[in-house]
């Protein structure tokens, strides 16, 4: 059984301009010990999906529906006190910007101890010992001394390590990481990704990794969900998605990426801008930007369909299979042929 199963999740926000459908029918599941990557542009709904699962959206103005079954319980219908028990204990979250997610006026030791004592009935001394142990586990040098430092005394990478330590205090089953390395330099990013995979192996936790970087996805994800304008465009195993991408949006994402291993003269660019979620386009939401657009795309919304009967790889596009395979091959050949 899956650790977390999300079915037809919808999150709509009431605003002065109308209803913003930030997440509009998203389904996925994740097993224990696995990593699920969610990719998409800013505003595609990837962060809101996770905030909804965690119950962190403002109560006013938010309308959510669907199911998020975690260990047999539906997180969306749970009372706030029950949810508080789960949050930080069974499910933990790491945010993008480590400076704004740590309290600047408290020592990091204090913040870690607080997180432990909220969920465990332990003495302050025991909690502090646990905090110290975690700081060492995430690779903070001279942890005995740094535990009494303030967040501003840490560098960006170190702060992100503290955030990871805080997320891990109660051995969560599921770790949701929202762009955890976006604000970091490549060398630091490599350190953090390595740390996350090591810890995952150790604690056997599941990770949901939200990112816009397909490189990071290729590196750590087992399964991938590609989101576009509040919906899932394509979803599948990481190998399937990179070797046989099926959706024109996925092609666009792959083609627009300058990469180290290939030389291209011009990047594939996705024309235009992501649509407004107040008033998304009719039919396929990608059609105004899609180079393969057909008549049917403008009127009929495509549903997620298995690729060649493979239920683990699904895509939502009206193009026929032959065209897709040909185009996917062309894209991959383009990047391979010019690799030298």
């Amino acid at each position: 059984m899956a650790l977390l199963e999300v079915r037809d999740l919808k999150t709509h926000f009431r605003t002065d301009d109308g209803i913003v459908k930030a997440v509009d029918g998203v389904s996925f599941s994740i097993e224990k010990g696995k990593t699920l990557g969610i990719v998409g542009e800013s505003g595609s709904g990837k962060s809101v999906t996770c905030l909804t699962i965690m119950g962190l959206n403002p109560k006013r103005n938010t309308i959510s529906s669907g199911e998020a079954i975690f260990n047999g319980q539906n997180l969306l219908t749970m009372s706030s006190s029950d949810l508080r028990e789960i949050r930080g204990n069974d499910i933990a979250m790491i945010f993008q910007d480590p400076m704004t997610s740590l309290n600047p006026v408290h020592r990091i030791g204090h913040q870690l101890v607080e997180a432990i004592q909220l969920h465990r009935d332990v003495s302050k001394k025991q909690a502090r010992a646990r905090a110290l142990e975690l700081l060492k586990a995430v690779g903070i040098p001279r942890a005995e001394r740094r535990i009494d430092d303030y967040p501003h005394q840490f560098s960006g990478g170190m702060r992100q390590r503290v955030m990871i330590a805080m997320a891990l205090v109660n051995d969560p089953d599921l770790l949701i990481a929202d762009e955890p390395t976006t604000a970091l330099d490549v060398t630091t990013q490599a350190q953090i990704l390595k740390l996350m995979t090591t810890l995952q192996r150790e604690f056997d936790s599941a990770i949901i990794m939200i990112t816009h970087d397909l490189g990071v996805i290729a590196e750590i994800a087992d399964d991938v969900v590609v989101m576009y304008a509040a919906r899932v465009a394509e979803q599948g195993n990481v190998d399937a998605l990179f070797t046989r991408p099926q959706h024109p949006y996925t092609w666009g994402l792959l083609g627009s990426l300058p990469r180290l291993d290939t030389d291209v003269d011009r990047l594939v660019q996705i024309q235009g801008q992501p649509p407004s979620l107040l008033n998304p386009p009719r039919g396929c939401r990608f059609h105004p930007r899609c180079p393969y657009v057909m008549g049917i795309c403008k009127t009929e919304e495509p549903h997620l369909m298995p690729v060649d009967g493979d239920r683990t790889h699904t895509q939502a596009c009206h193009l026929d299979q032959t065209t897709k395979d040909r185009e996917a091959e062309k894209l991959l050949a383009g990047t391979m042929a010019e690799a030298s």
Partner: protein, 364 residues
């Protein structure tokens, strides 16, 4: 295979030798130190942040020089010194054959037209209270390039060139998306027909699909107007895509400069190697097999940089008694590749064992 060893050249002469008159910009031993002071009324300098500490390079007419490095390595400070937005502490900046390092504001004015800058954050670099037409036209007005009608025509032409609707010149920046704003920044930089454009992380704040649009635009503009770029970024993929030559900076120093084909295929400096191996490649198969050099620790403080080689505290090839004592000069390799390392990488990629145990050094 290791490149055949050539003579050790001090930084300046290495570049002088390359210098053949086609260089638009020559930077020699550029230094920028910011004082750290104590006291409120009587400020006493107690230390200096050595943000840029002796960088030399040249940029040829029509080429793109990429500059990469982690945050805090001095790449933006260097750009600001070149633009004369900051005054260099030491060194020489020669633009188009003229030393501009110590020119006064008035003397500098004609050169301001020749070099423009594109900034990282398209939200912060456009004045929210000014209309787009004004933002783009400002430089034209300052330099008195044409009548009002001519300037308006020129602005509309520029907006068209960068792919915006010329009718939108009356709009405010907030009415545009991030990618469109960056296009406005590009139009502004182009307005006075500059020779050199310094791009400081122009695509870092943008989504990948929009990033591709801007990168393509910059390339197109370069070929139509013969522009020269200094392109600063921390993303090695982006730098590789757009650059002809690449300079890697670490702690205020240039540790490696090479044509991009050399730098990416055969890096010489261990830091360059570490950067390259740290870049996530969007290929799950390659990601599983790739050997990574994961550097330990953080970049040291530029107030109190390490002795000898600046990279030695984090370097896997560190040799005690040599690297921490003797500062490596920029050694010259074949094909215009320079690297400041006593034990340059013999080949690429390396195994863990080869990385830790260099076969032989450039030892003295």
């Amino acid at each position: 295979m290791a490149a055949p060893a050539t003579d050790v050249a001090p930084q300046e002469t290495a570049y002088a030798a390359e210098h053949d008159g086609s260089d638009l910009l020559v930077v020699e031993n550029l230094k920028k130190h910011f004082p750290v002071t104590r006291g409120i009324i009587f400020q006493k300098q107690i230390a200096a942040v050595k943000a840029v500490d002796g960088v030399s390079f040249s940029v040829r007419q029509g080429e793109t020089l990429g500059v990469v490095g982690e945050s805090g390595c001095g790449k933006s400070t260097m750009a600001r010194c070149i633009m004369r937005l900051l005054d260099a502490t030491d060194g020489r900046i020669v633009f188009d054959g003229r030393d501009i390092t110590r020119l006064s504001r008035v003397e500098m004015r004609p050169f301001r037209r020749e070099m423009m800058m594109i900034f990282q954050d398209p939200y912060a670099s456009l004045n929210p209270r000014k209309r787009v037409g004004f933002i783009v036209a400002e430089a034209l007005e300052v330099h008195k390039l044409g009548t009002e009608a001519e300037i308006k025509r020129r602005v509309q032409e520029l907006l068209d060139v960068v792919g915006l609707n010329p009718e939108h010149y009356n709009r405010f920046p907030h009415e545009f998306s991030g990618g469109q704003r960056q296009r406005i920044g590009v139009a502004r930089a182009l307005a006075v027909n500059p020779k050199l454009i310094v791009c400081d992380e122009p695509v870092s704040a943008l989504d990948v699909s929009v990033q591709a649009q801007i990168l393509n635009l910059l390339k197109d503009l370069q070929s139509s107007f013969g522009l020269t770029y200094i392109f600063i970024a921390h993303d090695l993929n982006v730098v590789r895509h757009i650059s002809d030559r690449v300079m890697v900076m670490y702690l205020g120093h240039a540790v490696e400069i090479a044509p991009k084909s050399r730098l990416y295929a055969e890096p010489k400096h261990p830091y360059t190697g570490a950067l390259l191996s740290a870049v996530p490649v969007p290929d799950p198969e390659a990601a599983r097999t790739k050997k990574k050099i994961v550097l330990e620790g953080d970049v040291p403080s530029p107030i109190n940089p390490p002795s000898g080689c600046w990279f030695h505290p984090r370097c896997p090839r560190f040799r005690e008694g040599h690297c921490d004592v003797e500062t490596p000069p920029l050694y010259s390799f074949s094909d215009g590749q320079f690297a400041a390392c006593h034990y340059p990488l013999e080949r690429w990629p390396l195994t863990e064992e080869e990385l830790r145990h260099p076969s032989s050094g450039r030892a003295s």
